[in-house]
């Protein structure tokens, strides 16, 4: 194993060198002669048909070169505000060009650059770069614009009440969505680039003063440790920074919703936004936050509390029901009410398989149908659900392959697993269901107890960025039960949850419960 990782490291090192050779050694200064710079960049962008080199003369005299990538730049704006302005201007030959250009070109975002790498980055991000003869500096204009998806309602996290906007693939749209909700300058967004080839922009967002500085430093360090060729989705980052890579439970929350992200930022967590994906990472997270929906905070407290408990109940059902059924029907016949046992016995009469095999068969079929339903194009999806309903529901029973109660068990389990608001947490529970079924099929209720014990032990050992996963039940923190066992009304949520440090524990004014004596219009 040691040699393997050594090899990997060697490969990475040589690979990194190669990449760097391909692009450029760091900090190559720009040359005075435009031709030199042009040659250099043309070499780097050899065979890149999407890169546009546009030569022209400023005021008809000074040679200049604009470089941009087709499709990433606002071409009309470039023509109107840069090229036409510069072409028609008259400039003395040796004036400090860059200063003057600032006065001439009506573009808000422009940046001076002195190295080839800076130019490359600017070009890659869609900002056109202007190189001028006899100047060792270049200018990048903030004219990036490319086609992006509209802000839409998040698909995976629907709500009845609550904001309907979701993150998009564009990082700056996403940061803007956050900033629109949290206006304080204390909302910090540290930007960094991860990925040798993709150079993906990653933003670490947190609210200064609420967040634990050590937590931010830790996340910063973990992000800085990443050496990877590309980051195409936040899942890459998640797997590279989580605490327990072998655990089936997600230790980082992912969300598509700006309101969820803001809520978590306000509770002192950090968010990691990755360019190119609408999924934002939130850490540290706990098991209970995976079982909460953003809507819990918008609905009335009583309703939310009830729904939360319903969710907890169905999480348990999703985890245990098939194994309980298998255990009861193979070992503990005396625990089933007589008439139920008689019905079950009658329906199992023609079934050729043991209950465990029957359960596995049905559960695997169900998982397959679910997966097929997710992957298939929408038009075919309906066909799958019809076939699924017929195959699982009726034909299998009629053919005597499975018993009717098993279909009911699988159906309830399926519904239960969809009650978990975060899809990824649902998958963790689904995964664990299978070993539980084996335990139930071989050891009965004893096996189920063993399975539960092992699961609880595991849950209480793992941490998410230093926060125990079962907080506030694992380490008991009574003050936080107001937002886990119940969803207390907002006028009772006076303190923030305690994560790793105590920063601004009090989150709102005390004694805010509305009432007739609290002023307002006496009439």
């Amino acid at each position: 194993m040691g040699s393997l990782s050594e090899n990997a490291r060697k490969w990475w090192r040589s690979h990194k060198q190669k990449t760097q050779q391909q692009t450029a050694p760091s900090h190559t200064p720009l040359q005075k002669q435009l031709a030199d710079n042009e040659q250099r960049l043309r070499d780097l962008y050899a065979n890149c048909s999407d890169v546009v080199f546009r030569s022209f003369r400023i005021g008809g005299t000074i040679r200049a070169l604009a470089i941009y990538i087709d499709g990433l730049t606002n071409q009309e704006e470039l023509e109107r505000s840069v090229l036409s302005v510069l072409m028609q201007t008259k400039l003395p030959k040796d004036s400090p060009l860059t200063k003057l250009l600032d006065n001439l070109v009506p573009v808000t975002k422009s940046r001076e650059m002195s190295t080839v790498e800076q130019c490359l980055e600017a070009i890659a991000n869609g900002n056109p770069v202007l190189l001028i003869d006899q100047q060792e500096r270049a200018i990048a204009f903030g004219l990036a614009r490319w086609e992006k998806r509209q802000i839409e309602e998040p698909v995976a996290e629907g709500v009845v009440r609550g904001p309907r906007e979701g993150f998009t693939e564009s990082l700056h749209v996403n940061t803007a969505l956050l900033r629109r909700q949290i206006k304080t300058p204390a909302l910090k967004m540290e930007q960094m680039q991860i990925g040798g080839y993709t150079q993906t922009q990653v933003v670490l967002a947190y609210i200064e003063g609420i967040v634990d500085e050590d937590l931010v430093a830790e996340v910063r360090a973990r992000l800085g440790r990443i050496e990877i060729d590309g980051v195409l989705e936040s899942g890459y980052i998640e797997e590279l920074i989580e605490d327990h890579p072998a655990s089936p439970f997600p230790q980082i929350l992912t969300t598509e919703r700006p309101d969820v992200t803001c809520g978590n930022l306000l509770e002192g967590r950090i968010a990691i936004l990755v360019d190119g994906t609408p999924f934002v990472l939130i850490a540290p997270t706990t098991l209970f936050s995976l079982l909460q929906s953003s809507e819990d905070y918008y609905q009335r407290s009583l309703a939310s509390t009830t729904i939360r408990w319903l969710r907890y109940l169905f999480t348990a059902i999703s985890f245990l029901l098939p194994s309980l059924y298998v255990a009861l029907i193979t070992f503990h016949h005396e625990m089933v009410p007589t008439s139920l046992l008689i019905s079950m016995a009658a329906s199992r009469e023609a079934v050729p398989f043991p209950a465990l095999v029957e359960a596995l068969l049905m559960e695997i079929t169900f998982e397959a149908l679910r997966e097929a339903g997710v992957r298939l194009p929408k038009q075919v999806g309906a066909a799958v659900s019809i076939v699924g309903a017929l195959v699982i529901g009726q034909a299998a029973v009629q053919a005597g392959l499975v018993s009717a109660p098993m279909v009911i068990v699988v159906a309830i389990t399926g519904i239960a697993s969809f009650m978990i608001p975060h899809y990824i947490a649902g998958i963790a529970i689904r995964l664990l269901r299978f070993p539980m079924m084996f335990l139930a099929g071989s050891l009965g209720l004893l096996g189920i107890m063993l399975g539960i014990i092992v699961t609880v032990i595991h849950l209480s050992t793992i941490r998410s960025l230093g926060v125990p996963y079962l907080t506030p039940v694992g380490p008991i923190k009574v003050a936080e039960w107001k937002d886990t066992l119940v969803r207390a009304p907002w006028w009772m949520m006076n303190t923030r949850p305690h994560l790793t440090g105590d920063y601004q524990k009090i989150r709102q004014g005390a004694n805010q419960k509305p009432g007739p004596k609290k002023g307002g219009d006496p009439a």
Binding site: A345, A355, S442, L443
Partner: protein, 394 residues
């Protein structure tokens, strides 16, 4: 490496399982069992086994709902005891016998006279039979009851179980039986049911009630049977009455009034004075009028007082009837006076214990009933009365 070892260890643990794995379709589910005397030193064990394929829930889409098919079958085997007979019965079955859902145990009258404690031992020692299964003593042969078809329920077992939970008679479970047998009184009461032969067809079912009364055991041997009416008295005495309807004749109103007690408590207060043992049965009950065939208006406190007095007398007479049988005929302390004396007079009890059988019939029993009629029902005047004209239909 560690992971591999761990996986191997865990799989070893799983290998240990499965040995007692039984699928439901490999079980013969016993719903009821009957024990009869077969010959000298031999018993006849009959079990009522449920036939799953007859229920037809197999998902064939069409319910096989024809009620003509029998859902259960009865199998018998002879042996020197239950365990022995059981193995004979098992030999007749293709599936493993499963006692876990047997909720009814029937004993024939004959075997009950010889004592059933030995057979009960199997039922409480074996891990499968339920301690909370109900016991019944059957007139004649117990096996006959298993064969009859229940009108409402799926099987006679189910019918008898529902019967027990109705509390018309005195429901006695295995564990109750053991407790009664172990108690100071050493007398047992078990509901006594009609011979199966007399409940075979619809006509007979209409004529005969299944529950005949209560079989009274002295130790584990049947001493005699209390009638249904006397059973009521016993239930009052044992503080177990939950469902009863007391009808009393009111001469003042020229008719009957029926009262249903909704709450009843019985206290046994023992007393030893001058070497004379006596006991005071104190009953406190509350009830509603459910039928009034008299001319009396039950909104009148005076009428209510009349009813209460008659109810008191009626309850007393029922208890007297039960006590007469228990004390004078069977000499079996099914009301468990012994425990009451033991609690209050432990020393005297220790001395009297060996001759309790002789002492019990001599005990003087005083009965005090405090019946309170709380509600006259939904109407006040008798339904048939036309009060304005001062006439009442009779």
């Amino acid at each position: 490496m560690r992971g591999v070892v761990l996986v191997l260890l865990v799989s070893c643990a799983l290998l240990g399982g499965c040995w007692d794995r039984t699928e439901v379709n490999d079980l013969a589910i016993i719903t009821a069992a009957a024990v009869d005397k077969a010959g000298k030193d031999e018993i006849d064990l009959s079990i009522q086994v449920f036939i799953p394929k007859e229920v037809g829930g197999g998902g064939l889409g069409v319910p096989t709902g024809s009620s003509t098919r029998e859902l259960t079958t009865v199998l018998s085997g002879k042996g020197i005891n239950i365990a022995d007979a059981m193995s004979k019965v098992q030999a007749k079955l293709s599936r493993k016998v499963f006692w876990g859902h047997c909720k009814i145990y029937l004993f024939g009258e004959e075997i009950a006279r010889e004592g059933i404690a030995d057979h009960i031992d199997f039922l409480v020692r074996h891990p499968e039979p339920r301690n909370r299964a109900y016991l019944y003593i059957s007139k004649g042969k117990a096996v006959e009851t298993l064969g009859i078809e229940s009108v409402l329920e799926r099987s006679t077992a189910e019918a008898l179980r529902e019967y027990a939970s109705l509390h018309i008679g005195m429901p006695v479970t295995l564990i109750d039986f053991r407790n009664m047998l172990k108690s100071e009184a050493q007398a047992v009461a078990i509901p006594y049911i009609q011979e199966g032969n007399k409940l075979k067809d619809k006509e007979q079912i209409q004529k005969n009630t299944p529950l005949l009364g209560t079989a009274i055991f002295k130790k584990d041997k049947l001493a005699g049977v209390l009638t249904s009416k006397a059973t009521r008295g016993l239930l009052w005495l044992r503080n177990e009455i939950t469902r009863a309807s007391i009808s009393v004749d009111l001469p003042e109103g020229q008719g009957l009034v029926s009262v249903v007690p909704i709450r009843a408590t019985t206290k046994l207060i023992p007393r030893i004075a001058n070497g004379k043992w006596s006991i005071l049965v104190k009953i406190d009950t509350e009830g509603d009028i459910v039928e009034n065939a008299t001319k009396l208006n039950m909104m009148e406190p005076s009428s209510i007082a009349l009813v209460q007095k008659s109810v008191n007398d009626e309850i007393k007479s029922r208890i007297r009837l039960a006590l007469f049988h228990l004390q004078k005929e069977f000499d079996a302390d099914a009301g468990n006076f012994a425990a009451a004396f033991h609690r209050k007079y432990p020393q005297e009890w220790e001395q009297a214990k060996p001759m309790w059988d002789a002492l019990y019939p001599q005990i003087d029993v005083n009965i005090q009933v405090q019946a309170a009629v709380r509600r006259p029902g939904l109407i006040s005047r008798p339904a048939g009365s036309t009060d304005e004209h001062g006439k009442a239909e009779k």
